[in-house]
Symmetry: C2
Subunit: 405 residues, 2 copies
C-alpha cells in the first residue's frame, strides 16, 4: 500500500528520536509499502524562529515570516532522509516547493490549492522514501514560500496523501489516538478504534486538539482514510474514515468541551424587523466570529433579548463595538460572562436515535448544573454551562452514555 | 551607484547586530545607491546544523547536507529584510534559488555557473533592497539546493555583483581591510588602501583569510571592484581592483605565511627518464595537492633527490602511498618534516624591480634563519623555513621592506 506518514514536533524532537522514526519508517517500507513521510520542525525550533521574527519586527511582513519560519521543517526533513540512508533506505528530502505543494498567497495561513506530486510519486515508484517538509508550500504566482499556519503539517500530509493517491495517511502524535473524551479528565476514557470524518470534524473543531480541522475537511472531501497513532509505541491508533454500513453507529462517540468562549447578552432591544442585523453588523465588521446565538422575545412582544458566544479573546472588543452602536441598536443593557464553557456530545447514531439530548439534560440536572444555552446539529448537541462545572459534567456524561465500555 | 554589500557571520550574530547592519544599509540607500545585500548565517548556526548532520549520518549525503545547512542563511536574509522594513526601507529576502544563483552539481562545494539576476535587478530598480541568502544556489538540472562550501558567501556576493552589473562589491568583515601582514604579529602593520586582484589572490591563497580566493578570481575575471571593510566601524577599507596606471606599484605589498604545510624528501632515486612521474603518480592518485617542488641531482649524476610540500593533513597519507610505491620509484630513503612554514612576499612592483629577493635572503640570513626551499612567480617570492622562526621572519621582512611607512 502507498502510505503517507506524518510526524509532529515531539516525535522529531532530537536526533535520537529522528533515528527512531527512521526505524518505524523502515519497518513499514520493508513490509512492502511505498512511503512518503511528512515532518514538522524539531520541537522548540519554530518558537525560536518566531521569537527572532518578533524581535526583528513586531508588525512583521508575513511573507518574510514564512521565509524564515519554514526553515525548521526543511532541517528535519533533511535529517530524517539522512537517518533513513544510514539504515539502508534510499531517501531524499523535499522542501514544500520541491514537493509541488502549491498554495494561495495568504502568507502564514495559506491554503493548499494544488499538489503537483509527480516528482514525489516517481521517487516512491523508484524505491525511495520521500521526506517532505510539512507546514509549507509555494505561491507559484510570486514564487515565494508560504506556510499553512500552526498545525499545518497535518494538512500538508493529507493533501500529499490525496496528491500521491495514497491508501491511507497516518498521523503520528504523542497520544494513542482519539479518545471518547480527554483522558486527563476521565481516567477511563476509551480510545476510539474507528470514527467517521463528520464526528472527527465536530470533535476537532470543538477543541480536541489531536488533528487540525482543515486536514480532516480535506480528507473527508477526498475520502482519504486517516489514522491517528502514537509515534512512541507500536500499536494501532484511531481510524478516521467515511461512514459506511460496517461502522458501528454510536449514539455518542465522544464528549468535548471548549473553555475559551464567552457569552454576551443584550437585553431590552426594541423588537422590530432588522434588529438582528443591527446587532451583528458591528461584530462582523470587527472580524469577530460568533458561535451560538439565541433570541428570546418578551411576553408583551415589544422587546427582545439576544445572547451569543464569541471566543474569550474577542469579548472586550465585541463589547466596545456594541457600546459604540448602542443608539443604532437601541437596547437597555449589555453584559458579558467569560466564565462559561461549551460542552458537546457528538455521534452519528444521533440521527436515528432519540433520547440522546434528554439523557444529557437529565444528567446535568442531577448534578445541579444549569444549562444557559443549547444548540444542536444532526450529529451534535452543545450546551453552555458555567465553566467551573466542566469536568464534573464531562465525567457524569461519560458515565451516563456508557463510553467507558 | 549599484552596490552589493556582503555581511558575514559575526556581523549578523544576533538581532541587535542585524539591526545595526540595517542602519548601515539604509545610510547607503538614502545616499542614492541601489543595494543588494548578501548575508551569511548567524554565527554558530551553521556549526549547529553541521553537528546535527554528522550525528544523523557520519558519511552524509552531501545533497542532504546542503538542504539542511543552507537554511541558516535563509533565516538571516529574512530577518534583515524585516529589520530594513522596520526602518522604512522596502525590502525582501531571496533564497539562493530565488535569486537565480545557478550552480553545478558538486554539492557542498558547488561552483556558480550562472546568475539569472533579472528578478533581483527588477526589485532594485523598483526601489527595494534585495537581501540574498549567501553560500547557496540551485542545481537547475536536479532542482536541488547546493552550497558553495565554507566562505562561499563572498563568492555569492561577487557573482551577484557581476550578475546585477554593480559598480562595486563591498565585503564587510570584522577587520578594517587587508593589511601588509597579520597585525597580531606585527603591531605596526598597515592597512592597504588599494591592492590589485593579482596581489590579493596571492595573499588570499597564501593564507590571509580576509577573502575567499574563488571570490577574488571571479571579481578579477569580470573586473568587479571589491572593497573589504569593517562592519562595526564607519570608515573606508581596502579597495581591490585591476592594476591600472594610477595604482602605486609597491615592490612588496604584503607578507604572508602558511604554517599548515609539510615537506617530504625522497633521497637517492635512480635518475632516469620518467622518474618524476613515478614519484608523483601515487600522490596524485590519492588526490593530494602538491605545492612547491624542488629536484636536486647528485654530483655523479646517478641519483636524484626530490623535495616537495603538501598540506600538513595529507602528509601521513602521502608517506604511506610513497612507501607502497618504493619498488617502482626505486629510492633509498624517505623523510617528512611538518615543522616548516611557507613565507611569501607579494607585490606587483616586483615585475620591474630587481633586488626584492636579495633583500629577503639577506634579511633572513641576518636573523640566522635557514631557507630550505625557494619558489618564485612574477609577483611573489616564497621560501620554506622552520616554522618556529615565522614570526621573527615576518617582523624582520616587514621592517626591511619599510611596509610600516
Amino acid at each position: 500500500m502507498r502510505i503517507v506518514m506524518k510526524f509532529g514536533g515531539t516525535s522529531v524532537g532530537d536526533i535520537d528520536r529522528i533515528k527512531n522514526i527512521a526505524k518505524k519508517v523502515k519497518k513499514s517500507f520493508d513490509s512492502g509499502n511505498e512511503i512518503c513521510v511528512v515532518v514538522s520542525a524539531m520541537s522548540g525550533v519554530t518558537n525560536q524562529l518566531i521569537d527572532y521574527v518578533e524581535q526583528a519586527s513586531p508588525n512583521y511582513d508575513p511573507r518574510e515570516y514564512d521565509a524564515i519560519v519554514s526553515s525548521g521543517e526543511k532541517v528535519t526533513s533533511g535529517l530524517l532522509a539522512l537517518c533513513l540512508q544510514e539504515i539502508g533506505i534510499k531517501s531524499r528530502s523535499f522542501a514544500g516547493w520541491q514537493a509541488g505543494i502549491e498554495t494561495d498567497g495568504a502568507n502564514s495561513k495559506a491554503r493548499i490549492t494544488n499538489v503537483n506530486a509527480k516528482q514525489i510519486t516517481d521517487y516512491m515508484e523508484n524505491g525511495g522514501v520521500a521526506v517532505v517538509a510539512g507546514f509549507q508550500g509555494i505561491n507559484i504566482e510570486t514564487n515565494r514560500i508560504t506556510t499553512l499556519g500552526r498545525g499545518g503539517s497535518d494538512t500538508s500530509a493529507v493533501a500529499l496523501a490525496v496528491g500521491v493517491n495514497a491508501g491511507r495517511c497516518d498521523i503520528y502524535t504523542d497520544v494513542d489516538g482519539v479518545y471518547t473524551t480527554d483522558p486527563r479528565i476521565v481516567s477511563d476514557a476509551k480510545k476510539i478504534d474507528v470514527i467517521s470524518f463528520e464526528e472527527m470534524l465536530e470533535l476537532a473543531s470543538l477543541g480536541s486538539k489531536v488533528l487540525q480541522p482543515r486536514s480532516v475537511e480535506i480528507a473527508m472531501s477526498h475520502n482519504m482514510e486517516l489514522q491517528v497513532l502514537n509515534s512512541f509505541e507500536d500499536k494501532p491508533g484511531t481510524i478516521i474514515k467515511n461512514e459506511d454500513e460496517n461502522m458501528e453507529k454510536q449514539n455518542v462517540r465522544g464528549i468535548t468541551a471548549q473553555k475559551d468562549e464567552a457569552q454576551i447578552t443584550i437585553s431590552g432591544i426594541k423588537d422590530k424587523p432588522g434588529v438582528v442585523a443591527n446587532v451583528f453588523e458591528p461584530i462582523s465588521n470587527a472580524n469577530i466570529n460568533v458561535d451560538m446565538i439565541i433570541q428570546t422575545t418578551s411576553v408583551d412582544g415589544e422587546t427582545t433579548d439576544i445572547t451569543f458566544t464569541v471566543s474569550e479573546k474577542d469579548t472586550d472588543l465585541a463589547i466596545r463595538e456594541l457600546k459604540k452602536a448602542k443608539d443604532k441598536i437601541n437596547y437597555n443593557s449589555l453584559k458579558s460572562d467569560k466564565n462559561i464553557a461549551k460542552l458537546s456530545v457528538v455521534g452519528i447514531g444521533m440521527r436515528s436515535h432519540s433520547g440522546i439530548s434528554q439523557t444529557m439534560f437529565k444528567t446535568l440536572a442531577e448534578k445541579g448544573i444549569n444549562i444557559k444555552d443549547i444548540a444542536t446539529s444532526e450529529i451534535k448537541i452543545s450546551v453552555l454551562i458555567e465553566s467551573d462545572y466542566v469536568e464534573l459534567a464531562i465525567r457524569a456524561l461519560h458515565s451516563s452514555y456508557n463510553l467507558e465500555k
